[in-house]
Symmetry: C2
Subunit: 293 residues, 2 copies
């Protein structure tokens, strides 16, 4: 798309205020748009989901050749966006600071509806992995686990029950672009278990305590014999960062699996636990590991 | 030790200022003391390294039964400290806020010399794991990797070359108590390689790129056949969070190992990489895994 040559230089203009207001969940829900901040997130959005990106805001500075993007990184993202229908706007430093403190020279506005994946559109093959998070509340954690699920090659991420909004700008920043690599869905607890059942997926709970009559099995034991032929798809359900999973969820899962702690550490945080469990499962499948316990 | 019954209620007193000043590295080096903040870190220090803890500062509040610690958590830590030579001081909320914004009612002053582990005191058995970090600069990362090394049952953590001070209060908070579970040493690069050589330890570099003539091997491949009899001790060297390892370090290592990325994520951060690699190595040893690649 052509670049809007008119420089946006008024931080108080309605357009600028409306973009900045996308930091608020209410505004996102009212307008159906969301904010993408910083070179990494914006580049991944432009590269993988140009259909989602509506407007690109690029900070420019005066040079002998007229207004130029403030860095080669930002310039490269603007160039890449030209293959698509993304509308590019040049803005001053004041305007960019008003749009976001975390933009580092580039921000984008996305279409929330285009980011929505319908559960019916998610099909699972044998061996596929799904990462599910119940009541994850911290934006940084939510972003970190989406990034870990992406690295492990998960087919989808599901935020179950009452979780942080996946289009929260801090969540998006923390995913380091992974939000635009894999489908991230949100659904209720019953809907999640029905989703897994309908697709023949085994549900693992990642939990340290288990229930009165079901102690967790250790991750290496649970991975035993996962090598070779890919088995049923597996969904791993992780609990809230503070409270973990309730018995009500645990009893509905097929297996309860915990990461062994070999030292004196009491626990691992949610992001670390998700990375270890999802990557171990992915490595054991891909590498065809045979765990001899 | 008896609890000092005189309530410390003057935030401007020299004693209080001296404790608060331990947030500065210069003050820690000048005084040979360091600050431990918050119930989790202080409890682990009192429980595992009472020899290190000199003074305990406990926030109290007036009750019908006189001044009492502000919470049962804090009370329990004070009680546990009574088996040792730790000197307990009761302070007001104003004083505690002056000591640290992150104390949540309890802080302690430790003896830096008592925390120091001499390399000569570290002996390694077959199968032992050492986690080493070259030029780790971010306090949060440093704490996270110490916690991951603890969870993986590492025999020691080594900060190599120019790293953040392991007694930085934010590092200590981020370790969630693990700093008091395992020895954490600091040494130069040459000293590190000599340390490993003297103990017959194999040195792995955790690196995505490798060198021109040594591409990294994939983690599951590197773990192949690690099950069964414990082999040589292994030290894993991780690079700086931004730049990774330089060729100068890579060429001195026995193996270069990278974590496979199965999705579209570009990379994993240092804390996540360390947790995945160290826990995978620990699980494959402990569970006697045979990786059939």
């Amino acid at each position: 798309m052509p670049i809007n040559t008119a420089l946006i230089d008024n931080p108080k203009s309605d357009r600028v205020r409306h973009v900045a207001d996308l930091a608020s969940r209410r505004t996102r829900e009212r307008t159906g748009r969301f904010l993408i901040e910083g070179p990494q997130s914006v580049r991944e959005a432009v590269r993988w989901r140009p259909d989602v990106v509506q407007d690109l805001y690029v900070e420019v500075t005066e040079s002998v050749r007229g207004a130029r993007p403030i860095s080669l990184t930002v310039q490269a993202i603007e160039d890449e966006s030209q293959d698509s229908t993304i509308y590019v706007h040049h803005v001053t430093g004041d305007v960019m600071r008003r749009i976001s403190k975390d933009a580092q020279g580039i921000a984008a506005v996305g279409n929330a509806a285009a980011m929505r994946t319908r559960p019916a559109d998610v099909r699972l093959k044998p061996g596929d992995l799904v990462a599910a998070f119940w009541q994850v509340r911290d934006p940084g954690n939510a972003g970190t686990v989406i990034r870990a699920a992406d690295a492990a090659g998960c087919a989808a991420v599901i935020f179950v029950d009452d979780c942080v909004d996946r289009l929260n700008p801090k969540v998006i920043r923390s995913t380091a672009g992974s939000l635009f690599h894999i489908p991230v869905l949100a659904m209720g607890t019953d809907e999640f278990f029905a989703f897994c059942h309908d697709r023949g997926a085994e549900v693992w709970a990642a939990d340290v305590y288990g229930t009165a009559d079901r102690k967790p099995e250790s991750l290496p034991d649970a991975l035993a014999g996962r090598g070779g032929e890919p088995g049923r798809p597996t969904a791993v359900l992780f609990g809230n960062e503070a409270r973990g999973l309730d018995a009500a969820e645990l009893v509905r899962t097929d297996r309860i699996v915990s990461i062994p702690i070999y030292g004196k550490a009491e626990s691992l945080n949610l992001g670390t636990s998700a990375a270890i469990m999802l990557m171990s499962m992915a490595m054991s499948s891909h590498a065809g590991t045979i765990w001899a316990v």
